[in-house]
Structures are given as C-alpha cells and as structure tokens.
Symmetry: C2
Subunit: 303 residues, 2 copies
DNA sequence: AGTCTGATATCCATATATGAATGTCAGGCG
DNA sequence: CGCCTGACATTCATATATGGATATCAGACT
C-alpha cells in the first residue's frame, strides 16, 4: 500500500466507524472485506503506527485515537457531499440540488409554500430539507442554506435578516369553549399547557418569564410539530409563531401582549456559494419570501 | 478508472486548482502527470460529465463548475489536516500538535509568554500559530483552538469567556515630550494618529465615536503589529490593548476614560476535541492564562 | 459438548492504476 | 522564420491494489 492516498483511506475508515465491521463497511462502499482490512491497516501505519481499532470477534472496536480523528473525517464527508450537490448541475444553471436546513416547524409549515412556486418556475431544482430541532451544522457544510433564529457571527457566512416573528400563546376555539381562557398569567397554572421536553432557547425564556416549570405542562413533547398538532387538536394552550396561528381562524390568542416574544429570522449560507447561480437564487428567494412571511403574508399566497 | 474513489480524485483536483497545471500538481502530490490527467478526467466523468477545466497550452483553466466545488474541497483539505494533527500523537497523551488561531497582536505579544511554560511542562507539545488579522476559520477546521474577540454562536463550539480587555489610546513618552498630549477628543485632530487601513470592528467603532475619518490618520497600516511598533517608536498616538501597554512604562495613556473600549476575549474550540487530552489541556490553560492576562497580569509572570 | 453464526486474517490469480518515454501542440523569442 | 519551452495526450510494460475462496477464531445457542 506504501504511501497510498490518505483521503481514500479516510473514507474507508469512516465506513468502518459507521458500520462497526469490515464486512459491512465493505458492503457499504462496494468493496471487499480484505480491501477494507488493508485500508485500515495502511491508515494505522500512515498515522505513525497509531492503533485505530482493537480487533474483536464481533467486529472492530474503535480506540480513543479513532474517536479523536472521527469528527474531522465526518467533516470531510459532509464537505464531500456538499461538493456533490454543487456539482449536481452546471454552476450557471438554475437547476440541481439545494440543501436547506431549518427548524421542523418552518420546514413543515412555511417552506413548502415558499419553495413550490420557485420549483414551478425552475423545474430542474431539487430541494433537500434538513429539518432539525437543534441548529443544523452549516459550519460542517451539512447544508447549503440555513434558516436560523440567531444572527451568525462567523465571518465567512453571508446572512440576511428576514425580519422578526412573534411567538405567542394560543388555544383552539374548542378548548376555549370548554375551559375558558386565562385572563392573567397566573391563571395559566389551571390550564392544560403544551410544553417542550427539551431545552428550547425561546421557550426557556418564556417559561422563565412566566414562572412556569416543567411540572406544570400537561403535555411535554420533544417535537415542535407534534406540539403544534396538539394545539390544533384542542389539547390545550401552547406557543406558536404568530403568522402560522393567524392562518387558522380557530386558534385564539391567549394573553396577547402579555406573553409574546420576538424571534429573529436569518437566512444564512457560505459566502462562496454565491458563485453558484441556483444557490444565490434560492437564497434571495428565501430572504424575500421569509420577509413576507414575517410580515404576516401567508406563503401560499406569496410568490 | 470506473467508479474509483472520489475522495482521492478530489485531492488531485485540489492540487491542480492550486498549481494550475497537471505537471506541477503531479510534482506536488508525488505522482505523475499522466496520472493527474486521468484523475481529472475521471472526476469530470464521475460528476456527470461536467467540464472542470478548459485545456490550455499554458495549463488548465478552471471552469465555473470547478470554482463551484472548490470551497468544499478546500474544506475537506482543512479537515484532513485537522485529522492529521489529531493523529499526531496518542489522544490520551499530552503531546502532539495543537494549532491555535489568534490575532497578530495576541499571537505575538501574549501567547508566547502563555505557551512557553506549558511547553516546558510537556515537551512533547507542538504549537502551530495561525495569526491573521481577520477571524481565522474555526468552522473550516483551519485550527483547533481559537482566541476570539466575539462570542461564537455556533452550537457545536465550546467557548469560554476569558474576560474583557480595555483598548485605549496611548503615546510614547518621547512623542508626548515633543508634542504634548491632547486634553479633549477634539485635540486629536492636531496629532499624529496611527490608524488602520482595513476595517477593524473595534477601530471602526472608535473612529465613529470620535468622529475620526481615514484622512486624519498620519499613518495607516494594514498590520496591527506594525502599528504597535510605530506606537512604541514614538510615531504618534494609537490604540493598544491596556495590558500590553501597561508593560511599557514609556507608553502613556491618552485621554483615558474618555476613549476606551471593552473587548471580550473568548477561547473557542470544537466540542468534539475535548476528547483529545492535549486539546483540552491547551484549551484550559489558554482560558486560565488569558483570564490572568485580561486582569492585567503579565503572561511572563504567569504559569 | 457440539454446532452455528458472523466476524477477521491469509493466499493467489487477476484487474487496474501507475509511470517513463514519447508524441503533440501552441506560444515566446531571437 | 524556426527553435525552444512548457504544457497536455498517448502508449505500453510494470507495479499494485483488488476480490474470491479459504482458513481461523470467539461467542451464542441448543
């Protein structure tokens, strides 16, 4: 193997880390098990003889050294995927793949209506949505464009603020008919509150301001979409972005002006991607339409 | 070449982009020119037949498609380098390579005194300093640990605030003896001001607050170290971090309490690097010693 | 205890990528 | 005008990585 190309060895290493065995890694890469074994061996030698795996009858156990380089190799993988997306169509054409990261709620409730007309205008466009409750990793190139709720500070990122969206409390008309609505924040304790199991920056702020704690929530979900569904189903009182709630006449504001938080919306991408026509086009479109969304225009009517 | 490993083709592509010709790229990678030619050809085919270079009698001219994927491949390269650093010594040992990004001033005036004792204690440590006036790219893994002046927002980064440092105006005693010192901000216009040619966030703020513009600077340098040297040489009045100026009894404060800005100091690294013993050790050491620096303790006496 | 399973190591014929030498081409320069 | 230079393309013998078959091993299960 001599001084064989380290990069391809990294790729094999990553496959072995993910699959846990040479055989499965071989199947993943469409290579053979002996080849993967040789790659791992060669990599260990190229890295100064460091042991990467302890050979086990049930597979290969990664050592601490393997864990140390893994995040970097994963970053390489994400960048390689990004390169594939960038090369999915000529850079100057308005077609090809664009991967967008956003929160689950934005991805499910807002983006479809925004992206559909763009797709109609440019049928060659292919969208990938990376929806995650936690901020997706633009820095690792896991996506091309991100819809964020905090201003990015990294210098090489291009960011546009699309406006601010109010997050407030709502309840379905049916729930209000059965239980009434609170008149003061202190009344909230007597109601069925839809909360969040995980630490959400906004909800945490809200909970702190209202002196709520987890025990007071009648429904705790680690999924914003499920919480939204529960709100619409009349389960109780929950938080919702104002423009989304405004679409549904059956959702009534709860304690408006008392409980409301401003959430910034930012569209972010790597500055270098401006050279790729479709990336720039999608970025501009997102910035424009998210701005309309923030102003309260329903995305279905936009574009 | 068939479905050969894309990752090694990327590496060849990067070399060709950097060198501008197959022959020089071959020399760089210790391969032959025909091999590089085949790699480029194979990559073009693997990427759906996209043209990456126009063959020119003086070399290969990258197409727009090549420019589109280049930043991603560079990110792969940075990650590969980071992996090499991570593998430069066993993960559990306090030896091996650590790459630190910082501003030129911090790298030249502060870090040496902080790193020296750590190196004495652990002779196996090897430091790489990436000093750059613009924020170095932690997100691209161009370094392992960064000393920053803004709080990072990316979730996967570990950040510790080491305190705040005052940036204020100073002048050398000799300059003061010859020209006196201003008593009010308006007096500044009559003095030799050492300014900065580029856009510096802090200096921009300072200039705005003092109603200075570029034309008023008697010396414009795009290099903080040269500006510091000019200040020490008695050229005129310039900005300097207070703990650095305090070391030199000949540097006199100018308009203290009138012109001063607080600069935050953050130590940042990727969270995953905490697993690597030397990374965690250097991170903790930097956080501790930079905190001492921010409190005014000279790093030479620290540690 | 015996057997079965799923894993890694070993071996050798083969497919494949590689490199040295050579051919080809376009522009610079005397 | 013609040589020289530095580039890419082509060719073919060689070195090298690959894959299939096989051996081996440790634990799970009956």
């Amino acid at each position: 193997m001599s001084g064989a190309d380290l990069w391809s060895l990294y790729r094999s290493f990553l496959a072995v880390m993910r699959e846990g065995s040479l055989s499965r890694a071989a199947a993943l890469l469409d290579l053979s098990q002996p080849t993967l074994g040789r790659h791992v061996e060669a990599l260990e030698q190229a890295l100064g003889g460091a042991l990467l795996f302890t050979r086990h009858p049930r597979g290969l156990m990664p050592t601490e050294n393997a864990h140390a380089i893994l995040p970097h190799i994963e970053a390489m993988d994400a960048a390689a995927d990004a390169a594939l997306r960038a090369a999915s169509a000529p850079a100057s054409s308005l077609s090809g793949v664009v991967r967008i990261a956003a929160s689950e709620v934005v991805g499910a409730e807002v983006l479809p209506g925004i992206l559909a007309p763009l797709r109609e205008a440019h049928p060659g466009l292919v969208f990938e949505l990376a929806l995650s409750s936690r901020a997706a990793d633009l820095l690792r190139r896991d996506c091309d464009i991100a819809v964020r709720m905090v201003r990015p500070t990294q210098g090489s990122l291009v960011a546009v603020k699309a406006g601010t969206v109010k997050v407030a409390l709502y309840a379905h008309r049916l729930y209000a008919a059965r239980h009434g609505l609170p008149r003061t924040p202190d009344d909230l304790g007597a109601h069925a509150l839809i909360g969040f199991d995980r630490a959400d920056p906004f909800l945490a702020r809200a909970a702190g301001a209202l002196k709520l704690d987890r025990a007071m929530f009648a429904l705790r979900v680690d999924n914003d979409l499920a919480a939204l569904a529960a709100l619409r189903a009349g389960f109780g009182i929950g938080a919702c972005q104002q423009p989304i709630a405004a679409r549904d006449a059956d959702l009534l504001p709860v304690l408006p002006r008392v409980v409301a938080f401003d959430m910034e919306i930012w569209i972010v991408m790597h500055g270098a991607l401006k050279r790729v026509a479709r990336m720039a086009a999608v970025f501009d479109h997102l910035a424009r339409q998210m701005r309309a969304y923030a102003r309260g225009h329903s995305p279905e009517r936009a574009g």
